[in-house]
């Protein structure tokens, strides 16, 4: 029975996988999986950073480095789905429970990361990203043709060079910074967090930046083609960007509290809404 169970065990490890190497060196574990197009990778890490990078090829490489025996890293593959989970085996031991994940994934893979303390970084991806961290700082760069969903409670969020996908950002008090982010739909919601956007609102998209009490700062180039509306119910608005008056505005602008207008052909719809924060629009 012992030999049977060993045989079964090794068969399970080898079945469906090519080139896998899972060797623990000190507290470092490395896992490799071969996947087909459109693979899905999920990482759940209670404490520590998670880095994801798109890398050509059809392998998913996961390197997990832990620093104590009170955590266990559990990685597995089911078909085209890869899952990595950190399990806490005993009582929390503070920073010793930290596990650092580094992932190389095919760019077209969709990736889900849940890491409350983070930070979480993702770059060079062409597959959908869903990133979630309570206090995690989240940084996403160089993503095209894919949806990006990010949620934090207080963690700051930074996006750069994102295009041609839906972008949905939600944070309660984390600041959100978008640099060269465009797509058919870009939505940012915070309560207290500031929202900074520097880009051209391209791709004839639908942009909605909304917060409660943080400021919204937008910088855009003169060539941006936007139909822009800004309104702060109890705060203020400032505009330093040339806009043509809308012939049929959806509301009556109120000086200092709201303004609306178009630039160039008004291809993209841009709505800036704050309850009591300051909205500032500047020309780059």
């Amino acid at each position: 029975m012992h030999s049977m169970s060993s045989a079964v065990k090794w068969t399970l490890v080898g079945a469906g996988l090519l080139g896998i190497a899972a060797i623990a060196a000190d507290n470092r574990k490395e896992f490799r999986y071969t996947v087909g197009p459109g693979a899905s990778v999920t990482v759940t890490n209670e404490s520590g950073p998670v880095e994801v990078k798109g890398f050509s090829g059809r392998q998913v490489v996961i390197v997990a480095t832990s620093h104590s025996d009170s955590v266990e890293v559990d990685c597995g593959q089911k078909g085209n789905r890869i899952q990595a989970v950190t399990h806490l085996l005993g009582r929390p031991e503070g920073s010793n429970d930290r596990v650092e994940y580094q992932l190389l994934v095919p760019p077209d893979a969709s990736v889900i990361v849940r890491a409350p303390s983070g930070p979480i970084t993702a770059e060079k991806m062409r597959g959908d990203l869903t990133l979630e961290g309570d206090a995690a700082a989240i940084d996403v760069h160089d993503v095209r043709d894919a949806h990006v969903h990010v949620r934090t409670i207080s963690g700051p969020i930074s996006l750069g060079s994102i295009s041609n996908g839906h972008v949905e950002i939600t944070s309660l008090s984390g600041n959100v910074q978008l640099y060269a982010v465009s797509g058919p739909k870009v939505s940012v919601n915070t309560a207290k967090g500031a929202i900074l956007y520097n880009g051209d609102f391209g791709e004839a998209g639908d942009y909605m930046l909304v917060n409660h009490s943080g400021n919204i700062d937008v910088t855009l180039p003169a060539y941006a083609s936007v139909d822009l509306t800004a309104r702060s119910i109890a705060g203020s608005v400032e505009n330093d960007f040339p806009l043509q008056q809308n012939p049929h505005p959806t509301f009556v602008p109120s000086p200092g509290r709201s303004f609306t207008g178009t630039s160039n052909s008004g291809a993209s719809s841009v709505q800036l809404r704050s309850f009591s924060g300051k909205i500032r629009v500047k020309k780059r």
Binding site: R98, E132, I153, L172, S173, H212, V252
Partner: protein, 211 residues
Amino acid sequence: MNCSQFQKALPRIMESGGNAEETAHLESCVVCSDLVQDLRYIAESAKLLLPMREPGPRVWAGIRDALEREGLVQPPAGVVRFRAQRAALGPRRWLTGASLLACAALLLFAIGIFWFRSDPAHDTVATATVPVALPAPVDADDAQMLSAVQRGSPNLLATYRDNLDTVNAYIRDASRTVQQDPYDMGARDHLLRAYNQKALLYEMALARSGE
């Protein structure tokens, strides 16, 4: 094809793949196959090298001095301080509790009730004043959620408490404005978003408890 010929073509093969003859040799020759695997492994491992090292303090000191010398910065009135990095948060236990799910559902129910009672109207600009304050919603549930956070993840209690205050303030502000002008679609939109944010707070706590 022999090993020498294959290895001579290896720089090209590694970058863009081999022709049929080269592929056949790779499949049949364990020495070359091992070599290719090793080289690929080295390349992949390199990608995982993090920027781990920090320059010594003299680097910033030199930069600062040069910036001042060249007049690229104004002489600081105070001390140019390094903001402390946010302290790393310790690990947290995932919360459990069907009651948390019930709270999230209650919030969404409250949104539905509010929306059902209101009449849609034109969007107008509202002036924020201070009308009668509506009671902060679900206080008992908030206390229960914070207690659960305190039990499971005491390190995050302050974060959750602060953000609960933040989102409750959002709800109160938006509620006041809507009460003053029920036809203000912008304020109603803010109120809906505020409730959604509170639901997110509960959901973030609840989502981990099930794992």
